[in-house]
């Protein structure tokens, strides 16, 4: 018995010791891919934060893949000012606490800017933490208004930017679109009360709908882990709305649409950019035929940049990029361009002046990227057109710019 105790103790001590050495000795997985980078050997360190495991992993993997892809391309084409970009990707498991730790790890390794985070709560946690270092932070997918503006003090977080739409924008757009283009008189909303994104879009949609005289006849909600929506849909069906606004991600959409058909609902589906990927996620795309959602880009877009992004992403990861990938690709591109201007000013990476130069360069962005033409407003949110995508014939088709 005694020996057993000692053995266990020794074992745990060994584990502990091994772990500590692991901690000190290991170097985080980083990469300076793209061998043809300039000969000077200088690198610019950039961090990527994303959930690679856990519930949000599917979004984090797509987003981080896109950022990696962009930086690899920059390196292959000679880097920035002769320096290659060394990116350090850290997994934060979708947890704010882990994101804060990961941010400190990046800070310590001397990164000069960060692409990320992916979901709202970790992004806000990192935004708060990074303010003191004025670390340039650009997220491709955290849509909540509070990411760039502190809601308590109403001050803009000067170092935090995003390349995606903010929640209120999309909700308002889709309300106007339903009224003006679809000629809807009544609308119903079915939203996910557990995620910020869905609640934000819903609030904006309803507010705008009241303003423009679109009657919201039913508002129903569900929890994130639910898979049965028939009772809500039955209630909605009883009110026979013209459109059903359903602001959630593609996987939930893939569950909601068939059940809506089953209860006999005929309303037109309307959604936000989370819908991107719905065709792949659903077994029978006839279920969402005729649905409209707003998006940052259209795969139909024949512009060279969009087509190149689509084919590059497909070649690198053997899957089609979703919205997360597209906006994060742009986030990386905007950041790389800002780094370029900091380099041109002759500053040294990771210094305070360098970071300040990146921040001011990002705010001055005025250029075309994959998801549209970017400028940033005073809240550090992008000003760009929304594209309305229609699902027709089992494909995402460009409907209009709105």
């Amino acid at each position: 018995m005694k020996r057993n105790h000692l053995l266990s103790l020794a074992l745990s001590a060994a584990v502990c010791a091994g772990m500590l050495t692991g901690c000190n000795g290991g170097t985080p997985s980083s990469s300076t891919a793209g061998g043809s980078a300039a000969a000077s050997g200088d690198t610019i360190k950039v961090g990527i934060l994303a959930p690679l495991t856990g519930d949000a992993a599917q979004y984090g993997i797509a987003a981080s893949n896109a950022a990696k892809l962009y930086f690899d391309q920059v390196n292959t084409s000679g880097g920035i000012n002769g320096k290659s970009i060394e990116y350090i990707l850290l997994d934060e498991k979708g947890q704010a606490a882990d994101a804060v730790v990961a941010y400190n790890s990046l800070l310590e390794q001397g990164v000069t800017a960060i692409v990320g985070d992916v979901t709202t709560a970790p992004t806000i946690a990192v935004a708060v933490e990074s303010a003191s270092a004025n670390m340039p932070l650009i997220t491709g997918s955290a849509t909540a208004a509070a990411v760039t503006v502190d809601p308590d003090t109403n001050t803009v977080r000067s170092n935090v930017f995003r390349s995606c739409f903010i929640d209120p924008f999309q909700g308002e757009k889709m309300a106007s679109f339903s009224k003006e283009k679809l000629g809807a008189k009544t609308a119903a909303v079915l939203f996910n009360s557990n995620i910020d994104y869905s609640v934000g879009l819903k609030d904006a949609f309803i507010a705008k709908a009241q303003e423009i005289g679109l009657e919201v006849v039913a508002t129903e909600s569900y929890a994130d882990k639910d898979s049965d929506f028939k009772s809500q849909l039955t209630n909605i069906n009883a009110k026979a709305p013209d459109v059903l606004f359903c602001p959630d991600y593609y996987q939930k959409v893939a569950l909601i649409a068939p059940q809506a058909k089953e209860v006999g609902l005929t309303a037109t589906f309307v959604g936000g950019d989370g819908w991107d990927g719905a065709i792949e996620a659903i077994n029978d795309s006839a279920m969402i035929e005729g649905a409209y959602y707003c998006s940052g880009f259209s795969a139909d877009d024949t512009s060279e940049a969009v087509q190149k992004f689509l084919s590059d992403y497909k070649a690198a990861y053997n899957s089609d990029p979703n919205m997360f990938a597209a906006t994060t690709y742009d986030a990386a591109a905007i950041l790389a361009d800002a780094i370029k201007s900091a380099e041109e000013a002759g500053l040294t990476p990771a210094t305070d002046e360098y970071k300040a130069a990146i921040v001011s360069a990002i705010s001055a962005t005025n250029k075309d990227y994959v998801t549209g033409h970017f400028t940033f407003d005073s809240n550090n949110d992008p000003v760009k057109d929304a594209v309305i995508i229609k699902i027709a014939g089992g494909k995402y088709t460009f409907d209009c710019k709105f």
């Binding site: 074992l11 772990m19 806000i124």
Partner: protein
């Protein structure tokens, strides 16, 4: 038979006190000297929070022998209490932080009583289910209370943002020490023996005159209180709380720490909490592929430990420095003079 040497009580306290102070100074020195970077400091703070959570759960699981599956719920209650208090209390700084921690513990403790009295009437599996249910209900309430109240209280799905960040190494260290000390002394007291008696055999304990309901509720409440403290530290560490962080999975995570460390071993809980918090970060710095399989490794470990050593890695072993010193002195045989003194002081 030779007389066994025993260190007299005051000296024991002194030895342990010195040890605690030394460890604290070591930590402080490493931080101020820059040996521990901000990255390690952040991990260290998380380790502290999880140690408190695990040690407090160990009270209900290891010592009382129940299986609550809603420990994260108490953390959530404590965290939100502290967060809302810190955001709205007019005085800022250390006094507010101390008050917030105490308040968080008390509110979580009250929830502990409220949940404990009905739940502890049930046994074993049913208790597990009912605490699981309460944990989920707390999460649902945190998510939806705002729409019922009509004003901003918990922040709903968006979370509670802008909590002042006060959690520091000394604060966490002191809380860990107080938690461990309190639970340790409680378990060594008459109440502790009653709690252990309930674990061993509830009916026998009851027939010996132990008020089982009272002691069960007491242990459960103490467990909830310290979970609340852990929640408060976590809230002020992160500055942001979302209800999703305190789901069933978090409860299980803390339970895994207690179980792997050894149910009924405080040292086990402390070590397991530290190891299981640090390992994912360490794994990531070695290889992302290994880090991806982290959860698979955890679950296999959990099953294997349960099959081959159901009482956990350390069983009910608890570390005692004075016992080790005593053992050494006894083995060396230099005990004669002091031994009698020890005898007298009994």
């Amino acid at each position: 038979m030779r007389q066994r040497f025993e260190i007299p009580m005051p000296v024991r306290y002194l030895v342990n006190g010195v040890l605690i102070v030394l460890l604290f100074l070591l930590g402080q020195f490493m931080i101020s000297a820059g040996i521990l970077s901000s990255y390690f400091q952040k991990i260290l703070l998380q380790v502290g929070v999880y140690i408190i959570a695990a040690v407090s759960l160990n009270m209900a699981t290891g010592y009382l022998g129940q299986l609550p599956l809603g420990h994260a719920g108490f953390m959530a209650v404590g965290g939100y209490t502290a967060g809302i208090f810190l955001k709205n209390f007019p005085i800022k700084g250390l006094p507010a932080f101390i008050l917030a921690i105490i308040l968080a513990g008390i509110v979580a403790g009250i929830f502990g009583i409220l949940i404990g009295i009905p739940a502890l009437r049930l046994k074993g599996d049913y208790l597990a289910i009912i605490t699981l249910g309460f944990g989920e209900i707390i999460r649902v309430i945190l998510l939806n209370i705002d729409t019922v109240l009509g004003f901003k209280f918990t922040g709903g799905a968006a979370g509670l943002m802008g909590i002042p960040k006060y959690t520091s190494f000394p604060a966490v260290y002191i809380c860990v020490v107080i938690t461990c000390l309190f639970i340790h002394t409680m378990m060594k007291s008459r109440h502790g023996r009653a709690i252990l008696a309930i674990r061993e055999n509830e009916i026998a304990a009851e027939s010996c005159g132990v008020n089982t309901t009272y002691y069960k509720t007491m242990a459960f409440t103490a467990s909830a209180f310290f979970a609340g403290v852990a929640g408060a530290l976590f809230a002020s560490y992160l500055g942001l709380l979302v209800p999703g962080d305190f789901g069933f999975m978090k409860s299980i995570e803390i339970l895994v720490m207690v179980v792997l460390g050894g149910m009924g071993s405080m040292l086990g809980s402390v070590l397991a909490a530290a190891v299981l918090t640090i390992v994912p970060f360490a794994l990531q710095s070695i290889s992302q592929t290994v880090a991806d399989y982290r959860m698979v490794i955890y679950s296999v470990l959990l099953i294997v430990v349960m099959i081959f050593k159901p009482s956990g890695l350390l069983g009910t072993y608890d570390f005692s420095l004075t016992r080790i010193i005593e053992g050494l002195i006894n083995r060396a045989g230099i005990h004669d003079g002091v031994a009698r003194k020890g005898e007298q002081s009994k």
